[in-house]
Structure formats: C-alpha cells, structure tokens
C-alpha cells in the first residue's frame, strides 16, 4: 500500500509542530524519517495514526484521501505502529496485548484465548521471534516487549508500518535483528516508515531518507550520505560526533563494591555476586541490555535498595545498610535512569527541584525553614551555568523539554561537592545539543578526580565516555574490558558471552 502525506500542518497553540510536511512511502520501501528529538517526527506519525487531528493537509492511501477519527480507523485501513513508548498494558499477557482492540471471541463476548495465542505463535514463528504468548509483558525484557509491539501491528495485517524510534532500548544484536525484520517485512511488500535519530541505522536500512527539523522537512538525503552530512542536515549545523577527552589521570581506588547481591521481594537474585572498583578520575561504564541488573546495581549505590549481601565502600567507609540521605551525605551524585519518575518532581518549580536533595541544612534550610533567597540565587546561577532553557526558575520542571529536565538533574547533582558520581543513561531522550553538553560535564567531573559510573545501554555512549566498560548479563558481570574493545566483542558480551582474556568478574 502506498502512503502519502500532503501538506500536514499541526499546531499546538502558538507552536507549529508540523509545518506543511509532505511524505511519500511506497510499498516495499523503507522510508527513513530522520530528525532530532522534538523535531516533530512523532507528532507527524500521531497525525497519521489518527491520534491527533491535523490542522491542515491530507493523508492518502493508495492515492485515495482518507480520514482517521482515531487509531481504530488507521488500523482498519492497514496502518500499524510500533510506538517509541510501548503501547502495551504491563499487567496483561502477550496474547492479551496482541488481541486488544480486535479480540477474537466465542459466543457472548467470551475471549477466545486459544485463537489469540495461536496468532501470537504463528506470527512469532514466521519471523523467528520466540515470544511466549502467556508471559506477562512487564516481566519481559524490553527487546521482547518491542517484538510484542511488532506482533501487535502485524496481527492486524498492517501494510504500512511505522517504527517510532524502535532501537532506543535495544542491544546492538537486537538492533541488527530488528533491521533484519524490517527488511523481511519490506520484502513482503510492506511500506515502512522508520523514525530515528541514529545515523548508523539510517544508512543501514533506508531506501529513502527525509530529514525534518523544527517541524519542517529540510531535505532528502541519499542512503549513501556520510554521518557528518546527515548530522549537519539534522541539527542544522556541524556536530561533533565524538566526545573530546584527555587521557585519564587515575588516583587510588575510591569506590569498592564487593560480592554484592540484590534480591527482589519474590526471591529473584537480580544482582549476583558483583565486585568491582572505580578509581578517582575514571569513568566506569556499566553496559548491558536493560533489565540485566544495572538499574538495581545503580540503585544500591544510592542506598535505594538494600543488598542482601556484600559491601559498598567509598573511601573506606562502609555504606551498605545506610539510608539514602547518608549516601547523599557521603558525596554521591546520582542521575537516575528515568528522570521523569525518579529525578524530578514535575509539578515543582525548577528552583525547588534544584535543591530537592540539599534540604538537610544550610544554605538552603535554616531552622527548618526554606531560605528562598539562597535557593533562588543558586537556581539562577545553575540555570545560567548549565544553560537550562526555561522561562524562569518558577517554571514547573515538568514543562521543560527532556534535555533541559536532564540538565536540571545534572545541575543539582554536580553542584555539590562530590566523591562519587553515578549517572544512569544520562542522555536518554535528550537532543543532540544537550547530549554534547552532558557528555562534556561528565568528562569534566572525571577530570576533577571524581570516580564516575555511567550506566549505558547504547554502545556509542559506552565507548565514547568510558575508560573501562563493565558488561552485565542476568545480574552477573560478564567482564570488565577497556574502552578500546571492539564493538562486536562488546555486543557479544552484552548477550552473555565472555571474551577471552577479559578481567575476571
């Protein structure tokens, strides 16, 4: 089926998210929509999918104008979408999620679970997915969850498939597999829209590339274009693609983690016998596919979870069993994985968020009372220093863009006297400009002699930032390797295969 968008314009109040965008996708073609976070790609696709009404313009399927009142219409017309934030009900099983909205029933509205299971098995066998139809979605690794999304789209015989930033949460291997799946779908005659900001992937699979910036199409690129060409087209200026950093100057071992074990309430061992050390002036990247224990390990480094065994010592002080506040008091800076959930109170102002973990004494609290002047002075300075784009320090933090939210968290954590800095996926969902900024700050922290731990799921980031890379798999350390390790070796490690001669776990 051929998909065509003509002059799509979508406004949110004064903001023009999509400005007369035209796009044509032919059957059997992968059309890449390349653009930064916030360029309006997702908005465009949500218009196409019937989630938003376009203010102007029209959608054509096989040269006929169609109008979608909601996603139901879009799906019925043969459009499927794999959402960036998975549209899966976490407590449902795979089969339930796949059938939701077009459930096979036996008489009286009874669900035909058998049929739904069979469908899941059938599709997953067709593409070699290996997905258990009865697994609860929230228990599945993200990679598998994404397959469920794809199965969901395919189960409705979608002929136009939209992939919205699908690789953000995948391992390199999983990404490769996804590329394979996309090619397979293309061969089956599907029209595919592939939304991303990752240049490597674009060059790998795209048949055509459309670049959007600030809501408008800025041009088409050939699949053969270089990274630098694509990047400058996307951002509008030339971009530094690597992180500039000096050789590390290590001091003594500062952080020592020994035989750490973390058990969840059901008795699953999420972090299993993990030991490592980090020296001052060193960035240790904890790499791995999401859900392999890195989150819990990082949480333990702030006392958010109490390990069932093992020790964490910082400069010789044992921290296990202490409260989060004690951890903070020891000079640990922490950037959580999901800033919206763990990093910020969205309804609080920027100023309030900037002091949120510094309220245990002067200068921001005296005699139980908040010191507004000190707070606001600090906030203004931080906004300046970290280039936080906000209308003012009284703006609710939740209203900021992702990159600026992350800068608020970073500003709060880095403006304290630190003895350890832990950053979990610090650049997730952040625009290119902010990524550069955040990377620079992390490197600066390292250069100041602070031991730094970065949890990363993207190999690019791991390689760019790390001095050493610790790879975790199923709660255990696969190996700790230097940052010069080749990508494919790291990829294998992330899948649990230890290379010859790596540091002992």
């Amino acid at each position: 089926m051929k998909l065509e968008l003509r002059g799509i314009t979508k406004r949110f109040g004064a903001l023009v998210a999509n400005d007369h965008i035209d796009l044509v996708v032919q059957p059997g073609e992968i059309h890449c929509l390349l653009g930064e976070n916030g360029a309006g790609k997702s908005t465009l696709m949500n218009v196409l999918y019937g989630l938003y009404d376009a203010d102007e313009g029209e959608v054509l399927l096989d040269d006929e104008v169609v109008h979608f009142a909601g996603p139901g219409d879009a799906m019925a017309a043969g459009i499927g979408m794999v959402h960036q934030h998975f549209m899966l009900v976490p407590v449902f099983t795979v089969a339930e999620n796949v059938m939701l909205g077009h459930e096979p029933t036996r008489g009286g509205g009874r669900l035909d679970l058998e049929a739904a299971r069979a469908k899941v098995v059938e599709i997953s066998e067709r593409f070699g997915f290996h997905v258990d139809p009865d697994a609860i979605v929230e228990d599945l690794p993200v990679g598998v969850q994404q397959r469920v999304e794809i199965i969901k789209a395919l189960s409705r015989e979608a002929q136009v498939l939209i992939f919205d930033e699908p690789t953000a949460v995948l391992t390199p291997q999983e990404t490769d597999e996804l590329m394979g799946i996309m090619r397979q779908l293309k061969a089956d005659g599907a029209a595919i829209v592939f939304i991303t900001h990752k240049l490597r992937e674009v060059r790998e699979v795209a048949d055509r590339i459309t670049v959007v910036r600030r809501g408008a199409v800025v041009g088409e690129a050939k699949p053969g274009s270089s990274d630098a060409e694509l990047a400058s087209l996307m951002v509008g200026r030339s971009v530094e693609l690597t992180v500039a950093k000096d050789a590390p100057r290590y001091s003594d071992a500062k952080l020592e983690v020994k035989d750490l074990e973390i058990v969840d309430p059901d008795g699953l061992v999420l972090v299993d016998d993990v030991s490592f050390t980090v020296r001052g002036g060193e960035v240790l990247v904890v790499a791995g596919v999401q859900g392999n224990g890195q989150t819990e390990l990082a949480d333990a480094l702030l006392g958010l979870v109490t390990p069932s065994a093992g020790s964490i010592t910082l400069d010789g002080t044992e921290l296990v069993g202490r409260s989060v506040r004690d951890f903070l008091g020891q000079g640990i800076g922490f950037v959580p994985e999901d800033r919206g959930v763990d990093g910020l109170v969205g309804t609080f102002t920027v100023a309030e968020n900037l002091i949120l973990d510094r309220i245990y004494g002067p200068p921001f609290v005296k005699a139980g009372s908040l010191q507004l002047r000190a707070r606001d002075e600090f906030a203004r300075a931080a906004v300046e220093e970290f280039d936080i784009r906000t209308q003012g320090i009284d703006q609710p933090a939740g209203r900021l863009s992702g990159g600026n939210q992350q800068k608020v968290v970073l500003a709060r954590e880095l403006s304290r006297e630190l003895r350890l800095f832990v950053a979990c996926q610090p650049t997730r969902g952040v625009d290119v400009g902010s990524i550069e900024f955040i990377h620079k700050r992390i490197v600066a922290t390292r250069d100041a002699g602070v031991p730094v731990i970065v949890v990363a799921t993207e190999l690019d980031e791991a390689l760019a930032l790390g001095d050493r890379i610790l790879v975790m798999y199923r709660g255990r350390i696969v190996g700790i390797v230097p940052a010069t390790t080749p990508r494919d070796v790291l990829g294998l490690m992330m899948a649990g295969i230890a290379p010859e001669g790596s540091e002992a776990a």
Partner: protein, 429 residues
C-alpha cells in the same frame, strides 16, 4: 483587582522582542494579569456561576416544600400569577433568611445585633478551618485522610478530660488542654500513618476503621462512670469544661466567636508556612507529587508518611479542641465531631488544598451552617436543602466548563496564552 496598568505596552513585533519584553516584566505581568483574568473570565466567574446554579436548584426544592406555593398551584390555571408570586416569595424569603442567619441581620436593631450572624458563621467555620487544613496537608502529600472524625474525637477526649478533670489557672489550663488534645489527634492519625509506613495498609481503610473505633471508644468513656461521664449523670455526656480551660469569647459573651478562631487563623498561617516555606512541607509535597523522586533525593518516604499523618491529625485535633474548649463548653457527647471530619473533606477539596482556599471554603460552609438554622427557624425550610446546595456548589465549582456551558459564560484565555503552548512542547519532544 484594578485594571492591569503594569501590563507591558511593548508590541510584540518579533518573537525575540517579545521574549525580551517578557523577561524584563515577568513578575508584575504575571501577578496582575492572572488576577485580572481570573476575576473576569476565569475561576471567579465560575465560582459565582456555581453558586447561582446551586441556588437555582435549591430554589426548586424550596418551592416544592412551601405550603403557600402548594396552595397556589392548586388553582394554577385560574390565576397563574399567584403561583409565581408565591414561589418568588418563598424563594426570596428563604434566601434572605439564609443571608440574615449567615452574614448580616438587617432586621436587627443595632449594629451589634446585626453583625452577630457573621460571628456565628465564623464560629462554625473555626473547626472546619482546622480540620480542612489537616486534610489538605494530607492531600498535598498524597494521603487521603478520611479519619477526621476519629481524630477530632480523640482530640476532644484528650482536651475534654484535661478541661474538666484538672485544676489549673487560665491560660495554663487551656493551653495544656489544647496541647493534649492536639497531640491526641496527632496520635490517632499517626496510627494510620504508622500502619501505612510499616505494613503498607491503605490509609483510606485504616482511617475509616479508626473513625468507628474512636466513636465507640468515646461512647464507652462517656457511658462509664468515673471516666468521661459527668458525675451524677446517667447520660453519655461530659461535665462542663472548667472556666480556666475555656477559650474566652473574643467579643464578649454576646457573640459566639471565641479564641479558637484566632488559633484557626494562626493555623492557616502556620500551614501556609509549613507547606510553602519549610523543609518539612517541601518533603511532604515532594512525597505527595512524586514519591520516587523524593526517595532519590534522600527523603525517607515512610517516615514522611507518618509525619504527614501526625501533622494532619494535629490540625484536625485543633478543630476538635476548639469545639470542646470553645463551642461546646457545657460538655460534649458522642457527636462532638459534628460531621466536621467529613465536611472537612469537601472543604479541603473545594479550597484546592491551599491554606487560603481552605479558609475561604470553611467560612462559606460555616455560613451555610449558620444560615441554615435561621432558614429553618424562620421559614421552616428543611435543613437538607442546605446540604444539597452546598454539594451542588462544590460540584459546579469543580467543573468550570459545565458552568460555562450552562450559563454561556465566555471561555477564559480566549487570547492565546503562553501557558497554552507549554504542553505542546512536551508533546512535540
């Protein structure tokens, strides 16, 4: 409330120029224009509309119960004017009685007499302020404290016992009774907080159960000689509070209003300071808005939960204390809470959980309670009508679009506002 003179006259020629202008005049522009808009097109208009709508609904009920109207409706087709006149008369009689009972008795001879209803309203508002603040603190911290009844009862037990059983000079006696009462309220709420912190038991369940438990416990204490029961009496009622424990009347014995009202006002200020300016309040709000982020920021969520309930219970306790030491000084019985624990939920919600909002809502409700009695006494209007009007007001205030739709009020912010653009950015991101 004046016209927004401070509004910048800088024409927005280019976005950049507008940006600069905005930055420079940010504070005054915000404050004045927002207030102006709210009064004209926004929430004030809606509030007035809500009251009007609720009063119309109340009128229907008033007309339905009025004898004169019923008589006139018997011969409606003969003389329709009579029915309308009777209905109009009944409605205006009822609402003027409400006004006379709640705000200003224009029939009274002297100013001193005329102002008395307002004092009655404020007196009724006193416990609603305390309990409303208590619940509001809970709401802001994400806890739904339905336990106002139990906490007020416990405060009453504590304050009441001190109030008649000890011999101390004023004001020491009163202050001691207050402290004990407030602590008792805090303790009873703290149980729910502790249970939540330790076992995760949902506060809605525990506070409901604690309400009933406190009620029967009070009943037991009142019915058992030697405990709270007035000596020599068989009735479940306490003796009168000793003079030294009472909250003196503020304007002489002719008026209801007592010192408790000032304490309630102090509680408004305190709560504002607590929630907006104190460290503890910041942790309360952080836990309420986003417990995950609060934890990461080093805030002990469980401990904060207990503290929230304790503070909430203490404020509700203040309401119980003012009832016992100020309003029902002749002794109290099992319904000392007077349904305030539940009314407080509405008050807190109507006041949007802000201290000033709670104050306003409490005075509104106090006025209804005071005026309701006059409406009944003078016009024989059933008291339930007041309840209905009250709840309709809250419903309508809570749903501005509905009020606008019915009354065809203009929508606020017809001119594009900056705020409108904000969520869009998020969407686009």
């Amino acid at each position: 409330m004046s016209a927004p003179e401070d509004r910048p006259a800088v024409p927005a020629e280019s976005p950049a120029a507008e940006d600069v202008a905005r930055k420079r005049t940010e504070e005054p522009e915000n404050r004045w224009s927002v207030a102006f808009r709210e009064i004209v097109g926004g929430s004030w208009g809606v509030s007035v509309g809500a009251v009007i709508l609720a009063i119309i609904a109340g009128s229907i009920m008033i007309v339905a119960t009025d004898e004169g109207v019923r008589a006139a409706s018997g011969y409606f087709f003969g003389r329709p004017g009579d029915l309308l006149a009777a209905a109009g008369g009944a409605i205006s009689d009822a609402y003027s009685a409400l006004f006379r009972g709640a705000v200003w008795d224009y029939r009274a001879d002297s100013f001193a007499e005329s102002i008395r209803p307002l004092m009655v309203s404020l007196n009724y508002a006193t416990p609603l302020i305390g309990s409303g603040l208590g619940l509001a603190v809970g709401f802001r911290a994400g806890l739904f404290n339905i336990g106002g009844q139990g906490q007020m009862i416990f405060a009453a037990i504590g304050a009441g016992w001190i109030g008649f059983a000890l011999q101390l000079p004023w004001p020491l006696h009163m202050l001691l009774a207050m402290v004990v009462g407030i602590l008792a309220g805090a303790l009873w709420a703290g149980i729910a907080g502790l249970l939540k912190a330790l076992t995760g038991a949902h506060e809605v369940i525990t506070t409901i159960m604690l309400n009933h438990t406190a009620y029967y416990l009070l009943f037991f204490l009142l019915a058992t000689p030697g405990l709270l029961q007035a000596p020599g009496s068989a009735n479940p009622k306490t003796p009168a509070m000793l003079e030294s424990a009472q909250m003196p009347k503020l304007l002489g014995s002719g008026y209801h209003l007592h010192l408790g009202f000032l304490f309630a006002l102090a509680a408004v200020v305190f709560t504002w300071w607590l929630m907006e300016r104190s460290k503890l309040g910041l942790t309360f709000r952080a836990v309420g808005e986003n417990p995950h982020a609060a934890r990461v920021a080093g805030i002990d969520v469980s401990r904060t939960t207990v503290w929230v309930m304790v503070v909430s219970g203490a404020l509700v306790g203040l309401a119980g204390v003012t009832q016992v030491l100020g309003t029902s000084v002749t002794g109290f019985s099992t319904d000392v809470d007077a349904g305030m624990g539940f009314d407080a939920i509405t008050v807190a919600l109507l006041g949007r959980s802000s201290p000033l909002g709670v104050l306003a809502a409490a005075i509104l409700f106090g006025g209804f309670r005071a005026g309701g009695a006059t409406m009944q006494a003078a016009e024989g209007i059933p008291i339930e009508i007041v309840t209905v009007i009250q709840s309709l007001i809250v419903l309508f205030i809570a749903a501005p679009p509905l009020v606008r739709a019915i009354l065809r009020l203009p929508k606020p912010g017809q001119t594009p506002r900056r705020k409108a653009a904000q969520p869009a950015k998020e969407v686009a991101a």
